[in-house]
Amino acid sequence: MNALLIVCGLGFISLVAEIINLKKGLHIAIVLGLVVAVAAVIGDWNTSATFFNNMLIFDPFSVAFTCLIIVVGIFWFCLTSPFFIGESHQTDRTALIIFTMVGGIMMVSFHNMAILFLGIEILSISLYVLAGSHKESFFSNEAAFKYFIMGSFATGFLLMGIALVYGATGSFDTSEITMHIEGHKAGLPGFFYVGILLMLVGLAFKISVVPFHFWAPDVYAGSPTMITAFMSTVVKIAAVGAFYKIFGLCFFSVQMSVLPIIQGIIILTLLVANIIAVYQNNVKRMLAYSSIAHVGYMLLGFISGSVKFEGILFFYLASYATTSLIAFGILYAIENAKGSTSIDAVKGLYNQNPFAATCMTIALLSLAGIPPFAGFFSKYLIFGSAIEADHIMLVIVAVVTSLVGVYYYFKPIIYMFSPAQASDKLYLSAVQKAFLGMLTAAALLLGLLPEWIITILS
């Protein structure tokens, strides 16, 4: 809880920083503030408490996910200092990012549908603005507008769903809803299920799974690269966390009624996202589709209903966030140097900057699920739990799409190791190098010693 307050406070600090002329030290102050927030989260470890009349709950799940959001946020801030320094609206952007994180933390720690809605709105509205933060870029504007319209639409679905569920159960409180469902299993009205369905649609938009993904590639590709990185890490953690809290915990006993739909979503997501990713010539767009595909794998674990799923999901998100931050961080540096994120821009990267190429290679290998990196282990856990639940067909689909994944993840690798045309170098600042190195080490360590992360939630 303290962490949420600290992060909120940081948001206000960055808002007033413009007025009291604190711009210079703001970036470092924010990072330090987030470190304090992490310390506060760790103070809450293994405790469970509710706040504001059961509006918020900080149980081990919420605490772990909050911690992940803030830690990834810290790394994100350290990798993106150029995005803030030397550009206008530094304080506004910082504040928006921080408020996105506030929304994210609320989404993983809600105990009341109202807070879920509030969290999603705080997160989304900040993101709509951030997506358009390259004001002169046509694509950035397009991304913001598209995201806004699609996002509001999805929110509408979600709100309608919440209202219908409230109508059927008489409460916004998640544990009361669960208890009501348990008590009146046979007598639930039809519109209750419609409500669940509408909520599923709304949340599916937010986690961007097929067929509710149409906004994602354009928004991801149009937004400034580091905002895309933020969307595919912090925002993804929050959205998937919220999805699990609703469908895995709150609606657990009526899960069966939506499982066939989720199974369909999984198959579509895995096939469509992976196959379209093959045809992308822009690394950023490819990573956008890959991010959609990874949610498909996470959902595959979700429907398998393993008792260890919370740990598996946490591990998956942690490893995905780690590797995707590396990839986007390097892509951002490339974009700054060459003005493009197309596949030709990464050509010859190994000759231009061996360190960046090595980190990027490890990140892509991990995303493709090659041992001994973190991504392999997360995929393994998902496949394992799916086989345990006898979803052999789905596993075979996932195996095939993983192979397709290798094809498009290896394309940039092949380009990176081909000889470069010009002798232009790629420079990384010492901070960027240090943090990319740390993330790469994490991608390896998570794969070699996954035990402590998986068991963190059991």
């Binding site: 393994y380 192979l403 094809y407």
Partner: protein, 490 residues
């Protein structure tokens, strides 16, 4: 402990080379591989010859999932560890005058590969085995991608995805078995054996195919071989040596350790199909080898033919066949290394590997010609060469298994003689062509590499007993497991 050291030592050196990029990285790599070889000799001297797994180490890795870091060496592992550690210094030494001699990354990748190979050959935990199996793929992929020839990116990616497809099937099969282990699930090999045997015949058949496809792609046997000729041809010569000399043995090792004892009913039911495919592969690849213009490609097809014989002999499930396959793996490793190295020497000096444009190499390069002759005689399994021992045992087992299959398998020797001697005749004998008039003979470094190889070819051919003894007890135990189970179910 020594097993762990065998695995860790190459990684440590590899990372050192990769990070500090010393100017003398090739010498460091050679020294490291020699140290590794000496260590493996120490293992041999301490080895007691029994079938039990020795030098073992078993510590929990991911305890909550029943995954242990369990490694050990028995007779079968020992032979393959010896092949890996023994061939590695030769491969590194052979690169000393080549275009990759100043690249630290190259040596770092080779040593990384050695780590993964030793890991595969010593792992006794299903998950650990899978991880090493996959890790072996990454260094070889990059070796081929960075230093390969024409069309390398397309061909190496095909190779990677092809083998990964097999690996993922293996992972699914292992996972199925893992969830059949009672109580707290475990990946320990004994637990997986027990789980595999508790299955019915149909389920064992499924698991059999999951595992066998992975191994068949790696070897490769017909019809899963289509990645192989392209990859062997396009890979840099050290990569080809690693692939054919050591890496394809991973597939055989997999069959011996992870397939036959795991799903005996599956092997009984489907073994014949596998033997048939292998034998078809022998004839098919030999026939294609006869028509190859490129000498490197010819060796690649020859390799498929020999692999077919080995896998057929292995799957006949009698002791002679298994022992034959094991000794043939060693012999094939040495011979493949020699052939690819000579091919590289010729192609560097004449700028071509096309057999038709070569000729009369004998006049200017008599030593080279002699060494190639010996290697080729080994390949066609002339008595007193290393190739003979293995092929004799393998064919013997095939004839015991089925006369027609044995006779078809026997074609490997006749057809082998056709394509090998034909190539030899065109390249070495006859008149000089424009490309070969000024060719020089073997130089110092090349002699240092090839002379010991020649000696090995003869020593193994004349006195194979010590090698056969190493694996005898382990193979016996393994077959006993299999036979006991089959008898019980009957």
């Amino acid at each position: 402990m020594i097993t762990l050291f065998l695995i860790l030592w190459p990684v440590v050196v590899s990372l050192t080379i990769f990070i500090f990029r010393p100017k003398i990285s090739k010498q460091i790599a050679l020294l490291a591989s020699l140290v590794e070889f000496i260590l493996s000799l120490v293992v041999i001297f301490q080895f007691d010859g029994s079938g039990a797994a020795a030098f073992s180490m078993n510590i929990p890795w991911i305890a909550s999932l029943g995954i242990n870091f369990h490694i050990a060496i028995d007779g079968i592992s020992l032979l393959l560890v010896l092949l890996t550690t023994g061939l590695m210094p030769f491969i590194i030494l052979s690169s000393f005058n080549g275009p990759r001699q100043n690249s630290p990354n190259f040596y770092a990748l080779i040593l990384m590969m050695q780590m993964a190979l030793i890991g595969v050959f010593t792992a006794l935990d299903g998950f650990l085995f899978y991880v090493f199996w996959e890790m072996a793929l990454i260094p070889i992929y990059f070796i081929c991608l960075i230093w390969g020839g024409e069309n390398k990116s397309r061909i190496t990616l095909k190779f990677f995805i092809y083998t990964l497809a097999g690996s993922l099937l293996m992972l699914v099969a292992l996972l199925i078995l893992y969830y059949k282990t009672p109580g707290q699930h475990s990946f320990d090999i004994q637990a997986l054996y027990a789980a595999g045997r508790s299955l019915g015949a149909a389920e064992q058949g499924l698991v059999f195919w999951g595992l066998f496809l992975a191994f068949a792609i790696k070897m490769p046997i017909f019809p899963f071989h289509t990645w192989q000729p392209d990859t062997y041809t396009v890979a840099p010569v050290e990569g080809t040596m690693l692939l054919s000399g050591i890496m394809l043995k991973m597939g055989f090792y997999g069959v011996i350790r992870w397939l036959i004892p795991m799903v005996p009913l599956g092997v009984t039911d489907w073994g014949f199909v596998a033997v048939l495919l292998s034998v078809v592969g022998i004839v098919y690849a030999s026939a294609l080898a006869i028509y190859q213009q490129d000498f490197k490609r010819l060796i690649a097809y020859a390799s498929i033919a020999h692999v077919g014989l080995m896998s057929a002999g292995l799957l006949t499930l009698n002791k002679i066949g298994m022992q034959g396959a094991l000794i043939q793996m060693i012999s094939h490793g040495i011979l493949a290394f020699a052939l690819f190295y000579i091919c590289e020497i010729i192609s560097v000096r004449t700028n071509t590997r096309v057999i038709a444009s070569l000729g009369g190499l004998r006049t200017n390069a008599p030593i080279l010609t002699t060494v190639l002759m010996i290697a080729i005689l080994g390949t066609v399994a002339l008595p007193l060469t290393s190739g003979f021992v293995g092929e004799f045992l393998l064919l013997n087992s095939l004839f015991q298994y089925n006369f027609i299959i044995g006779a078809t398998g026997g074609l490997t020797i006749i057809l082998g003689a056709v394509y090998c001697l034909r190539a030899f005749q065109y390249m070495m004998l006859g008149k000089n062509t424009t490309t070969t008039t000024s060719i020089s003979d073997l130089t110092g470094n090349e002699k240092i590499v090839l002379y010991p190889i020649v000696i090995l070819i003869f020593v193994i051919g004349i006195h194979p007993d010590p090698l056969l003894k190493i694996s005898e007890a382990a193979v016996g135990d393994l077959l006993e497991l299999y036979v006991n189970f089959s008898a019980k179910t009957k």
